[in-house]
């Protein structure tokens, strides 16, 4: 390898702490084929690599360093990209960024107008990225925080709507006048009100010219910029179509005898109306595309502008973004909570529906957490700010939804690839169509009486070149794959936004696609299906014992356990407290680890524990055993209670189901999904719970670290698995599953692992997740279907496939109208997703928060106090 073929790269390395790390990294890099020299510097944390770019790439370095246990430092950056109109624009921007050395990954979102870049700092910078994007014909700016970018995005969208609206006004007005002039002879009674000179070809030409060089100029400028850098986009299709129609019309007007069809084949109206229709499509797209990202805007609008802060005992009104951690804030009824915090005094009910999807107000007492952006309904309270600015739940949720919307589903990558390569394919097809009609089709099939579809305009004296060119141009215009490019991202944006309204946060478009294909849902038992803490389920009193009843037995046992730290003892105490029983102090408390406790309560010797404890103290408990075995068969843990050496009875304790677990499982079965429960509990307990909840399969006695392995086994059997569990403890299993659903995270969403985060601790939101994912993917498939149907039918029609049978051709302007309709119809179809409601608790939830609605009074069953 000659020196001239070598390149050098300086990689920032993370995780090195000593000289051996240096040698590990050096060795890992040096072993790659094509690497001739590697020098790793511990002080600067950089690896300088000399290599042959033909043999090894940046991703290979990254992988080698990762495999050695270190990492190549990478940063992320979001660019606002303006000027993208179609999927091929996405491909160009992505291509331009990916070509830059140091760029690891790029995801460009057409709907949001953003480009998310993961890159190696020091190798490439934001300016180079912006320049690369500009070089292929688009505008790029670095994105700051969400609020700024949202404003800028809105501003850019409004500017685009205004610009295309202005273009449409000019193009539409001139287009109509040109059309009237062209069809002057067919105006009938209206002929008298139209001046005859309007039908002169040169007048029509003069009218069309400013239209082509005004509103139509954008297509020529943009396509030339792209071509210079080796890229093609939709603009090129328009520019070629409009340019060809206009050029031939000019020649036929100025030189009618040149042989291009003469005055009978001037295409000014084609050029004018084609431009008008394309501009109409652009304007409608600009209008409708912004609406698919309304969810983010709605969330951002929740951010209150002011806060009433108590400083030095005085209430001061300050901007909400100036609140600092530790500030004491007063919230009155009817006000929004400015930041996250913890209630210090007062009591109220807060409407959190806008963030959690929970329709009923949540009670807030001293110590409870409040979320910024939620709405205080009934009382006044003061709280201490714990999270402000970008750390608030609202800011985290906005970021998560934004990131999800900026990501790409696998189906979208495919659609973008197809659309990106489509343009060149269409130009090739245009050559073939031209050549066919020039050499074969015209002579074989041309009929001078033939006309355009939906037009009385006969082709008449058009020559072989004019006719072939006409069909070739129509193919160019009718083939525009704008609808293909919009089909997936617009639906994904609407879907992620809709999910966020119900407290379901998808971390990426891929999660939506995967969630729509699931056929098996694995639930972690403890804390997911069950409450995660044992509670008293049964109290059995030995009728032969001299005990007043079940309350008395429970009271004595609870008094004995009052100071116990054992979870079962605590469950008994809680059980007694729930029954409002009065507990007395125990004396002579003695704990026998693994067996139970012994205490003196109200002059009685009380034993609470297992069989061994009873046996040790010579209690004749055999009459209780059949009852104990029955309860144990139900998965409950049974404790024997003896009073003064006599068997008093049994207290059964179990981890109880959450309120909606059984309903959720039933719903999942209705959706055709298999349900599996995974737990570390013994099989008998696990199966008892599974029976109560209606789970199909139980994986019992699974250690936490083996849960991921069990998920893998299910996947190996061809299942597409979702794991529902705690985002922290079940992290490996969540990561292994096709879709990891972290439940009950509250609003601290940033800490969560998993592909989907359910803000509320309600297992029914798994159904909401699946329904939204399925609805979104249904929309994606509908959009793609219609987009491809449009092209599949449009191209043969435009190419004149049916001309030999019907003697009708599609005019370029009609092709332009079809093209505009296709992309607008796809976006409108996506907007229907806004009407989607999950089947579950349909009547409880609201699409948008309605702060003035008189909601039902607080219900103890559903009021949560966090």
């Amino acid at each position: 390898m000659g020196k001239k073929d070598e390149a050098q790269l300086s990689l920032p390395i993370v995780g090195m702490s000593c000289a051996s790390c240096v040698s590990h990294v050096e060795k890992a890099l040096q072993e790659l084929p094509g690497v001739s020299n590697t020098v790793v510097n511990l002080a600067t944390n950089k690896a300088s690599v000399v290599y042959d770019p033909q043999q090894v790439r940046l991703v290979d370095f990254q992988r080698a360093v990762d495999n050695a246990g270190y990492a190549v430092a990478s940063s992320e950056l979001t660019l606002d990209v303006r000027g993208m109109t179609c999927a091929s624009c996405v491909a160009h921007v992505e291509g331009a960024l990916k070509e830059l050395p140091g760029v690891l990954d790029v995801a460009v979102n057409l709907g949001l107008g953003t480009g998310h870049v993961r890159y190696v700092p020091g190798v490439v910078n934001a300016n180079q990225m912006k320049r690369a994007v500009r070089e292929v014909g688009y505008e790029a700016n670095e994105r700051n925080d969400a609020a700024d970018s949202l404003d800028r995005e809105r501003q850019a969208r409004e500017e685009e709507i205004k610009r295309q609206g202005r273009n449409l006004l000019i193009a539409g007005t001139i287009g109509i006048i040109v059309m009237i002039g062209t069809f002057y002879d067919m105006l009938g009674p209206f002929k008298s009100i139209v001046p005859v000179w309007l039908s002169y070809k040169w007048v029509i030409g003069l009218l069309t010219t400013p239209l082509i060089f005004g509103p139509g100029r954008q297509f020529f400028v943009n396509s030339w910029r792209g071509l210079k850098h080796g890229v093609t986009d939709m603009n090129l299709l328009y520019a070629t179509g409009i340019g060809a129609a206009y050029g031939i019309a000019v020649i036929n007007t100025l030189f009618p005898n040149a042989g291009f069809g003469g005055e009978g084949a001037t295409f000014f109206e084609s050029a004018a109306l084609l431009t008008a229709f394309i501009v109409l499509g652009r304007w409608l797209e600009a209008l409708t595309r912004g609406r698919t990202s309304e969810a983010i805007r709605k969330l951002m609008k929740l951010q209150p502008k002011i806060a009433h802060v108590i400083r030095d005992g005085n209430e001061t009104e300050i901007p909400a973004d100036e609140v600092e951690v530790g500030d004491l804030i007063l919230v009155r009824p009817g006000e929004s909570i400015p930041v996250d915090g913890s209630v210090k005094d007062g009591y109220s009910a807060v409407d959190e529906s806008m963030l959690t999807g929970e329709s009923l107000p949540v009670e807030k007492r001293i110590g409870d957490a409040v979320i910024g952006g939620t709405f205080n309904k009934t009382g006044a309270f003061r709280f201490e700010a714990t999270k402000v600015g970008k750390d608030t739940a609202l800011a985290q949720i906005v970021k998560l939804v934004e990131d999800a919307q900026a990501s790409k589903a696998p189906i979208q990558k495919l659609a973008d690839w197809v659309a990106g390569h489509f343009i060149l394919g269409v130009h090739l097809l245009a050559i073939l169509v031209f050549v066919f009609w020039f050499f074969i089709g015209y002579a074989a099939f041309f009929d001078p009486n033939s006309s355009f579809i939906l037009s009385p305009y006969a082709l008449g004296e058009i020559g072989v070149f004019g006719f072939s060119l006409l069909l070739s141009v129509t193919v160019l215009v009718i083939s525009c794959p704008c609808a293909v490019g919009l089909a997936t991202p617009s639906a994904m944006m609407a879907g992620t936004g809709k999910a966020a309204e119900y407290g379901v946060l998808f971390k990426g478009a891929e999660a939506i696609e995967n969630a729509s294909k699931l056929n098996s849902i694995v639930f972690d038992k403890t804390g997911t299906l069950t409450k995660g803490e044992p509670s008293v389920t049964d109290v059995f009193v030995n009728t032969q014992a001299r005990i007043g009843g079940s309350d008395e037995l429970l009271r004595l046992a609870a008094s004995a356990e009052k100071y116990s730290e054992h979870p079962l003892g605590e469950a008994i105490v809680r059980g007694a407290e729930t029954q409002a029983l009065t507990l007395n102090e125990a004396t002579a408390f003695n704990s026998n680890p693994g067996h139970g406790i012994e205490a003196r309560v109200e002059n009685h010797n009380v034993l609470v524990g297992n069989r061994k404890l009873m046996a040790e103290h010579g209690v004749d408990f055999y009459s209780l055993i059949p009852h104990a075995e029955r309860l144990e068969g139900e998965g409950k843990t049974v404790m024997f209670v003896a009073v003064d050496g006599q068997p008093g009875g049994l207290i059964a304790v179990a981890d109880t189901l959450k309120e909606f677990s059984a309903e959720a499982i039933q719903r999942l079965h209705k959706l055709g999904l298999e349900t599996v429960m995974i737990t570390g509990d013994n099989r008998r307990t696990a199966e008892a719970i599974a029976r109560q909840v209606g789970i199909d399969h139980v994986l019992a006695e699974v250690l936490p670290q083996d849960k991921a392995e069990e998920v893998k086994k299910l996947q190996a059997r061809g299942k597409r698995v979702a794991m529902v569990g705690d985002g922290v403890n079940d992290a490996p299993a969540l990561a292994q599953a096709d879709v990891g659903i972290a439940i009950g995270s509250g609003t601290d969403v940033a800490k969560e692992t998993g592909d989907v985060i359910l803000i509320k601790d309600d297992v029914r939101d798994v159904i909401v997740t699946l329904e939204i994912a399925r609805a979104t993917m249904r929309k994606v498939k509908q959009n793609l279907f219609w987009a491809f149907v449009y092209n599949t039918l449009g191209i043969p029609l435009g190419a004149g496939l049916f001309y030999p049978f019907f003697s009708l051709v599609v005019s370029p302007e009609l092709a332009g109208a079809f093209m505009a309709i296709s992309s607008v119809s796809v976006t409108l179809n996506t907007l229907l997703l806004k009407r989607f409601r999950p089947s579950l608790r349909h009547n409880e939830r609201q699409l948008t928060p309605n702060r003035d609605s008189g909601k039902s009074p607080l219900s103890p069953a559903v009021v949560s106090s966090k």
């Binding site: 001239k4 073929d5 070598e6 390149a7 050098q8 790269l9 300086s10 770019p53 033909q54 291509g95 070509e99 050395p101 140091g102 190798v123 320049r131 070089e135 792209g226 071509l227 210079k228 850098h229 080796g230 890229v231 093609t232 090129l236 070629t240 060809a244 031939i248 040149a258 042989g259 291009f260 060149l424 130009h427 090739l428 245009a430 050559i431 031209f434 050549v435 020039f438 050499f439 020559g463 072989v464 070149f465 072939s468 060119l469 070739s472």
Partner: protein, 78 residues
């Protein structure tokens, strides 16, 4: 500045490839259309221009992207 030079180099090298391709396609069309008496001169000229233009549009981005990739691979990236 370096980037500009690089782009110019790409543009020059690419043009040396895509221009002959487009001209070749146009010439091929002309030859096919030159059956004596079959097509009027204007149709032939128009066809040559249209086929040449479309061939240029097809070959230009393909060739430019490929040349850019090759040159980029040969050039030091830091």
């Amino acid at each position: 500045m370096e980037q500009e030079k690089f782009d110019q180099k790409v543009a020059r090298r690419s043009a040396l490839i895509y221009l002959p391709i487009s001209l070749g396609a146009a010439l091929l069309f002309l030859l096919a259309a030159s059956v004596p008496g079959a097509y009027p001169l204007v149709a032939k000229v128009g066809g040559v221009v249209w086929v040449g233009l479309l061939s240029l549009i097809v070959s230009m981005p393909l060739v430019t992207a490929r040349v850019k990739k090759q040159l980029r691979a040969k050039t030091s990236i830091t």
